[in-house]
Symmetry: C2
Subunit: 385 residues, 2 copies
C-alpha cells in the first residue's frame, strides 16, 4: 500500500513514454487532509536538479498538497527551460487539484542533462493523467512509476497507536548520502505540526538513509519527503512516532541496499567503541567507499588488510595497531595483527557483517553498503543513466 | 638502467621464493658515494607498514647508504615480529655492506597481514643474495624484483648538465595519493645537500605521484626515495635539477597509470580556471574517485552529468551552472547545460582527456586516473593482494 496506507492520501502511477520500455513513469501523491503538513530533506550536492531547486522553495512554509514524481529523466543541468518545466508541472497539478502550485513538490530521476520539449510534454501529460487516476489504493502503482534501474519496488508500512506511516522509495545507483540519497515519499495520518514533521524526518533520515552508501556517488536529485494528513485524528506520542518513522526509513534503506545495481553482497559495517558517533560514521564510510575492500567481498575474500588500509586514511581517534576486525562473526584481526585464519570466514551469504572495534570509547554507528561487482561495472558502463 | 643510470650506484634483483611464481622478489640499491645523501616521502595513511615506520626513522638524518625492497608480502599489521623482521633486514644489509643499519631503508609490498618466520627467512636470504650480486648495471634486475601485479617494469632516466637522474617504480593497485603512492627509488649523481634533496623530492612528488589517483585507495606501504651519490662531481642548477626530477617522477607516474590493474583508459583530468590550485586538485580528485564516471568511460560513454554530480560534492569555488566540460576535445557541457552531442565524442582511444573549466580564476591542476573495468573487479576479487 505504501503511500496510501495512511488515511487521507490518494496516489497514482501512469505511463507516458518517458521510459523507452513503456513502463509507468509518472507518480502523483495527493494529501486530502485535513492537515496539509510537509517536510523534506534534499541532496547536499551543490549540483542540484531543477526539481530540487523548486521543491526547496515549496517546502519552506511546511505546507504540501501534493507531489509529482517522474522517472525517465533527471531534469538536471537543463537550464532555465528545465526549471520552467518543473514550474509548469507544479502549476498543472495545482490547477487540476485546485491548490496553489507553490504547495506542489516535484521530483525527477533519470539521466542528467535530458529535459527537452518532448520531456516536458510527457511530464505534463503524466501529471494530468496521474491526477485523473488518483485513488485511495494507488500506492502500489505510484511505487512502480518511480523505479529506474530498480529491479523491484520498495514499500514499507508501520502502524502506531491509532496512526499509520507508509512509504515508497526508489534508488539503485548513485547511492551515497547527502541529506537524502534517493527519491522517497513517506505519508502519515498522524497529527503533527510542520516543525514536528521536520524534526522527526531529519532525525530519521540522519541515521537511516544518510548511512546507506552503496557506491559513494552522491545524486543531484535526491529527496525524502514526509507528508502529513492528520486524517487519523490522533496526536501521536512523539517518541513513538519518531521510532516508527525511523523503522519505515530503515526498512526502505535496506530495500534500496538489497537492490543496489549489480551488488551480490549487502554489507553491514558496524563501527563500535568509537570516541564519538561522528568518528564511527567516518570510519564506516571510509570502508564503504574502498573499492579494493568491496571487490574483495565480491570475491568472498576476507581481506581485512584492506579494512585497516581504509580506516587509516581517516582522522578518527583510534590506534591502528589496537583495532579488532570481525567478518561474519570471525575475528580475523586483533590488535592490528592476524587472528583467526581467513579460511574460517564464510562470505558466501549475501548478508555480510563487518564489525570494527576501535576500542577507544562507547559510541557506535552502522553504515550499509554493497560490494563492487562485474555487474555494477556492466550496468554503469553499458547504459547511460 | 633505472637506478644505476647515475654514477655511484649498484643494484641487484634476486628471487628467493616470496612470490609463488618464482619471479625476482628482492631488490637492493646501494649508494657508493662519495655523498650518501637521502630523502624520502611516505604514505600519509595512519595504518603504516613496519618498513615505513623503520624508514621514517632512518631518513631523519638525511643519510642513506642503501635500500632493500621486497615484493611478495607487505609486512604490514604483522606486529612486533614484523617490525623486528624489518630491523633485522637493515642489520643484515648494514653488516654485509660495512655500514650502519640506521642508514639502510627498507620497503615491502604485497599482501597486508603476512610476515611470518618463513617470510623473514626469505627476506634475509634475499638481502644477502642481492648484496652478493650487486653490480653497476643491476638497475634493470632491481626494477623487475619490485613488481607485484605490475605487468611491466617502470623505469626512467633524465640527463642534465653533467649529471643524471634515474628511477624505478612499482604499483598497479591501491594507487591514491598520501605523500607518495607506490614504491619508487630515484638516484642521482648530482651534488646535493640533504635539505636540497628533500626539498626537490617534495616539490616533485607533490605535483606528480601525488596527483595520480587510480582507484582512490591509499596504500599502507608507499614510499618514494631519492638517493644522492654526488659521483658526477657536478653541483647542479637547482631549478634545472628540480625540473629534471619532476620529469622523471611524472614519467614514472604515467607508467604506473598506464599499467593500473585492469584499466582500459588512462584519464587525464585537467581542471582549469580554478580559484586556487587546491580547488583544482579537489575538483579533479572528486571526478577521479567517482565510480559512476569511471565506469562510463570504460563503456566509452561521455556521460558528463556524472562529472557535474561529482564536482558538486566539493567545497571548491565555482558555480555548478557555469561550468564547461570537454571530453577528448569536444565541449559536451557549457554553462551547466548540454552542448555538443554525445555522439561527437570518440572515447575508444586508451588516452582520455577530460577538461573542466571552472571559470572563476587562473589556477589549474592535472589529476591522472583510470577507468573502472571488469578486469579491475576481477583482479581485486579473485586474488588476495
Amino acid at each position: 500500500m505504501s503511500v496510501t496506507a495512511a488515511q487521507g492520501f490518494e496516489a497514482a502511477g501512469v505511463a507516458v513514454g518517458l521510459k523507452s520500455t513503456g513502463k509507468p513513469d509518472v507518480a502523483v501523491v495527493v494529501n486530502r487532509g485535513p492537515l496539509k503538513v510537509g517536510a523534506a530533506v534534499f541532496t547536499s550536492n551543490r549540483a542540484k536538479a531543477n526539481p530540487i531547486m523548486w521543491s526547496q522553495r515549496v517546502i519552506q512554509d511546511g505546507v504540501v498538497e501534493a507531489i509529482v514524481l517522474n522517472s525517465g529523466g533527471a531534469n538536471c543541468f537543463t537550464g532555465s527551460f528545465g526549471f520552467q518545466t518543473t514550474h509548469q508541472t507544479a502549476e498543472k497539478a495545482g490547477e487540476l487539484l485546485g491548490v496553489s502550485a507553490g504547495d506542489v513538490l516535484v521530483c525527477s530521476t533519470g539521466l542528467i542533462g535530458t529535459g527537452d520539449e518532448v520531456f516536458r510534454a510527457k511530464v505534463l501529460a503524466g501529471t494530468e493523467q496521474g491526477i485523473a487516476e488518483l485513488s485511495a489504493d494507488g500506492g502500489e502503482a505510484a511505487s512502480l512509476a518511480i523505479m529506474t534501474t530498480d529491479s523491484r519496488p520498495k514499500r514499507s508500512v508501520v502502524t502506531g497507536d491509532g496512526w499509520t506511516i507508509g512509504g515508497m522509495a526508489k534508488g539503485a545507483g548513485m547511492l551515497a548520502p547527502g541529506l537524502a540519497t534517493m527519491l522517497v515519499v513517506i505519508t502519515t495520518d498522524a497529527v503533527l505540526t510542520a516543525a514536528q514533521a521536520d524534526a522527526a524526518l531529519r532525525q530519521a533520515t540522519g541515521r537511516t538513509f544518510d548511512r546507506l552508501d552503496s557506491d559513494g556517488c552522491m545524486s543531484t536529485n535526491d529527496q525524502v519527503t514526509l507528508m502529513v494528513s492528520g486524517a487519523s485524528g490522533v496526536t501521536p506520542d512523539l517518541d513513538a512516532f519518531a521510532s516508527a518513522l525511523a523503522e519505515v526509513s530503515q526498512d526502505l534503506a535496506k530495500q534500496l541496499q538489497g537492490d543496489a545495481e549489480g551488488a551480490s553482497h549487502d554489507i553491514t559495517i558496524l563501527v563500535q567503541n568509537a570516541a564519538s558517533e561522528e568518528d564511527a560514521v567516518e570510519v564506516g564510510r571510509s570502508v564503504a567507499r574502498n573499492n579494493l575492500f568491496k571487490a574483495a567481498i565480491f570475491g568472498n575474500d576476507p581481506n581485512w588488510g584492506r579494512v585497516l588500509a581504509a580506516i587509516g586514511t581517516t582522522q578518527a581517534a583510534f590506534d591502528p595497531y589496537d583495532v579488532d576486525v570481525w567478518m561474519n562473526g570471525v575475528r580475523v584481526c586483533s590488535q592490528g595483527g592476524p587472528d583467526a585464519p581467513r579460511e574460517d570466514v564464510d562470505l558466501t551469504p549475501r548478508a555480510t557483517d563487518l564489525v570494527i572495534d576501535l576500542k577507544v570509547g562507547a559510541a557506535s554507528a552502522t553504515i550499509l553498503t554493497n560490494d563492487l561487482t562485474h555487474d555494477y561495472v556492466h550496468e554503469n558502463s553499458a547504459y547511460s543513466s
